[in-house]
């Protein structure tokens, strides 16, 4: 189930990597080692989806991922350079049961 998520905080870890903190209503919680899929939808309906590891422990309805910039990437330049507080994405997860 894709859940709407809102960016509530973001900070640079190094010049090419940024941590994004999303608020995800009704988030069921997660374990270290799990991942999420993020889905971005452009105004005309074009979608792109990527998988990211969790970068912070369970914290209520908050989910954090840390994104490394891929210089000619499609999604990471948006997440590292463009998205701002209040913007929306969708989140699927938590996913994966092995690396926990």
């Amino acid at each position: 189930m894709w859940r709407p998520a809102q960016l509530v905080d973001a900070w640079e870890e190094i010049p090419t990597a940024r941590t994004l903190r999303f608020k995800v209503p009704d988030w069921p919680g997660h374990l270290a080692g799990q991942h999420v899929d993020l889905r971005l939808t452009a105004e005309d309906g074009y979608m792109a989806q990527r998988s990211y590891s969790m970068s912070a422990p369970e914290d209520g309805e908050f989910v954090e991922v840390t994104v490394q910039l891929v210089p000619d990437g499609e999604v990471s330049p948006y997440l590292v350079k463009e998205i701002t507080i209040g913007d929306a994405v969708e989140v699927l997860g938590p996913l994966g049961g092995w690396f926990v």
Binding site: M47, A48, Q49, S51, E74, D87
Partner: protein, 198 residues
């Protein structure tokens, strides 16, 4: 209600060969559940075991003496990258199963290192899969599953088990490694069968 990401445009390098939710990559990412086993050719065997316990085995010399094919296929990883037109050399499972007598409908693929994955037998036969030992004209590197890996390109690539050592035939379907950990039992990329329940 649709959720739009303000300011997101995307690169739109869409290709009809890409299943839904996938993006194109031109390198070859490596994802493994554990360390890479190193299997010398003189220690390598491939065994097919039927539901009655009968088995047929090939050592490396016997295996590479079998007729080979050179499929060029698209591969789709459940972590959302796809790679188009990858060139392989391998032995068709039809060749390996020519003398196998079985009533089973399912197979469990076993790897050196302990990995397993389940696949319906009909998805392994009729030109749909190979045991591959070369990629782009070079011996398959251990990090990509060498000496030999299963190649089942029409399913998500976790089904194409690296470091394959055996195929066990089963009368009933059972989950393999990832399938026990939340991933889909079948894994059709065109139907986005990524996770249990998709």
């Amino acid at each position: 209600m649709a959720v739009f990401s303000r300011g997101f445009h995307g690169r739109r390098d869409h290709d009809d060969a890409l299943p839904p939710g996938q993006y194109l990559t031109r390198d070859f990412p490596v994802l493994s559940a554990g360390p890479t086993p190193l299997i010398p050719h003189d220690k390598w065997t491939l065994t097919i075991t039927t539901e009655t316990g009968a088995h047929q085995a090939w050592n490396w010399a016997q295996f590479i003496a079998l007729p080979s094919e050179e499929p060029t296929v698209d591969i789709h990883c459940v972590t959302r990258w796809s790679k188009l037109c990858t060139a392989w050399r391998g032995v068709s499972l039809d060749t390996l199963f020519a003398d196998i007598d079985t009533a089973a409908d399912f197979a469990m693929v076993h790897s050196y290192g302990g990995y397993t994955t389940n696949i319906p037998l009909e998805d392994l036969l009729d030109g749909k899969s190979w045991i591959a030992y070369e990629r782009e004209g070079e011996p398959l590197q251990p990090v990509h599953g060498g000496p030999a890996r299963l190649l089942v390109p029409h399913l998500y690539f976790w089904k194409s088990a690296k470091w394959v050592r055996g195929i066990e035939l089963m009368l009933q379907d059972e989950p393999g490694f990832w399938e026990s950990l939340g991933y889909h039992m079948y894994g059709d990329p065109w139907r986005e069968q990524r996770y249990d329940g998709d």
